[in-house]
Symmetry: C2
Subunit: 341 residues, 2 copies
């Protein structure tokens, strides 16, 4: 009974991850040590960042060890606590792993979730979780769009991109999204309120961007890198900003591909290209969540979550990040919360 099912990193992916990169295991439920808490995970957040952590490269977090459970953002319930600040029974956002239970240092717990009327639990891991917070701080703090400016968003039908575009609309910007496929393009315009969509699978992105943003781009929110970043830089307006959120087009390459030759446009355009890490804004998460929740309740911010049910589906659901088959945010549901004891 006291078992802890796990999904382990069996080997480092070579290019696009495949099922064989993962292994299933069952271990004991860990005992939290002094300063640690024991979490029972309710939801796993399926994010491109996980692919980065799988590589054997130093980054803002160390690589996931081979044979260790796959690191993941989680929404979790505290079942035991050896830290005075974390209360048993509370529901928290955390940096956990693909397993049923994790013992983590209290600092891996990133805030208690106060459930809000009319907002489903999973929203706390998507639009009110890392995904929404990444969109919020990346766009508003790094991109700093002003009313009337043009904002370009790549991976616009993805978890982060779909929220970035809507926040930019709320802030009075003209918003152009780039997505793959007609269905996604229709969705971001018809349901999310983007002003225009570019289908990178069927259209000449450069020509389509000139048509959709004839005066150029003030803020480009980049989650893909590669050819689209190359094009966006050539269309940057004076004092344009490129928010570097990810580079999924090249996340699988062992050798980095050539960078954007058009970076030189930053010179004469006084442009700025800047990376960020959402964790750095942890002290302001509550403020951001309150604003995001208010937008949801006012009907200004739509979120779409695609849930798989059961830990065993985590690898397969993760692979969907790379096949272009999803819209919005991917999560895996493991359990319902128990009533506070």
């Amino acid at each position: 009974m006291a078992e802890n099912r796990q999904v382990l990193l069996a080997r480092r992916p070579n290019g696009v991850p495949v099922m064989e990169d993962f292994a299933f295991a069952t271990g004991p439920i860990p005992e939290p040590r002094e300063g640690e808490v024991l979490l029972r995970h309710l939801l796993l957040s399926i994010d491109p960042a996980i692919r980065g952590w799988m590589a054997d490269k130093p980054s803002y977090l160390p690589p996931i060890a081979l044979g260790a459970p796959v690191r993941s953002g989680t929404l979790s319930q505290v079942v035991a606590s050896r830290d005075p600040h974390v209360e048993v029974g509370s529901i928290v956002q955390a940096l956990g792993a693909w397993e049923e239970y994790s013992a983590v240092p209290a600092q891996a717990v990133m805030g208690r979730v106060e459930r809000l009327d009319g907002i489903p639990l999973e929203a706390h891991l998507s639009v009110l979780g890392g995904t929404g917070l990444t969109a919020y701080f990346g766009l508003l703090e790094v991109g700093r769009p002003r009313e009337g400016e043009t904002v370009l968003v790549s991976a616009a039908a993805g978890g982060v991109g779909s929220i970035v575009g809507q926040i930019a609309k709320i802030r009075g910007c003209r918003v152009v999204g780039i997505a793959g496929g007609e269905e996604k393009c229709r969705w971001i315009v018809d349901e999310l309120g983007f002003d225009a969509a570019i289908d990178y699978k069927r259209e000449d992105v450069k020509a389509a961007l000139s048509a959709a943003a004839p005066k150029g781009v003030d803020v480009y929110f980049d989650s893909v890198g590669g050819e689209i970043l190359e094009i966006a830089l050539t269309r940057l307006r004076n004092r344009g900003r490129v928010v570097l959120c990810g580079a999924i087009s090249q996340i699988h390459d062992d050798e980095l591909p050539p960078g954007p030759r058009s970076y030189v446009h930053l010179l004469a355009k006084r442009g700025r290209m800047e990376g960020f890490v959402t964790l750095d804004y942890a002290a302001r998460y509550d403020e951001a969540r309150a604003e995001l929740a208010a937008w949801i309740r006012a009907g200004k911010l739509v979120h779409r979550d695609e849930l798989a049910h059961g830990l065993e589906h985590a690898p397969r659901h993760f692979l969907r990040l790379f096949d272009g088959s999803h819209r919005g945010k991917l999560m895996v549901k493991l359990a319902e919360p128990e009533e506070s004891r």
Copy 2:
């Protein structure tokens, strides 16, 4: 007698400029129209930016027209004025051309030069002119170095780079310069006070940089682009800044070469890469000049100017920008100022 000798852009350079790209001519001294002033040029500023203006590409200024005199920063004396704000006899910095006289709109006059005791006239076009102002605003406003940080400077023996490094030292930074050749490397360390120099012609820049800046680079002032930008990005510290001042390594390429693949380091490092145009800071030139002059008088800021004498030497002196043979700032002296009338 009323002749105006000129150096014209005869054709657009194909790669590195050659003498045949220029032509010599003699025309009449122009008449200033309403709102214009007639300048007699005393000194021409020889800058890499001129190579950019020679290309048929839109930028922050239009390309130099074929057959027109080569656009250039100048130190000039006003010989006639049809603008109430510009006084005849005054010595000014301006955007003029490679000719003895230019009639320019009053807004091309970028400030009257107040000659300072103990500071030679040419310093007003180098360390107190566009070169010093580019170093000052690029480093302090875009790079924003803090005491104790490590600043890396490429083209460190050039006009801008040699001043950037010294300002960074004044601000309490550790400064590493990259230059070509032993003599330049000795000069920036022994005479300018850089902490370390890397000779890119003889050393493995990556290994030498790891040794000279073991904790990494907080601010990289980039005038070269290419391979050195590639390496610098991989050594950026958290919240590191790359100041994009130029890309002389690729200024001659018609097709842009691949960009820095290591730009992805900006993501996890929360790095910022930003371009700037010195002209944007025109309202603060006086403030900057006062501080630069104070540093010169206090012996904290050394400048080195290489002057050629006579308009006919402008093309040849300009070509020296690209053959690595100079240290400090290149200028061409055309005339001495006349006493105010």
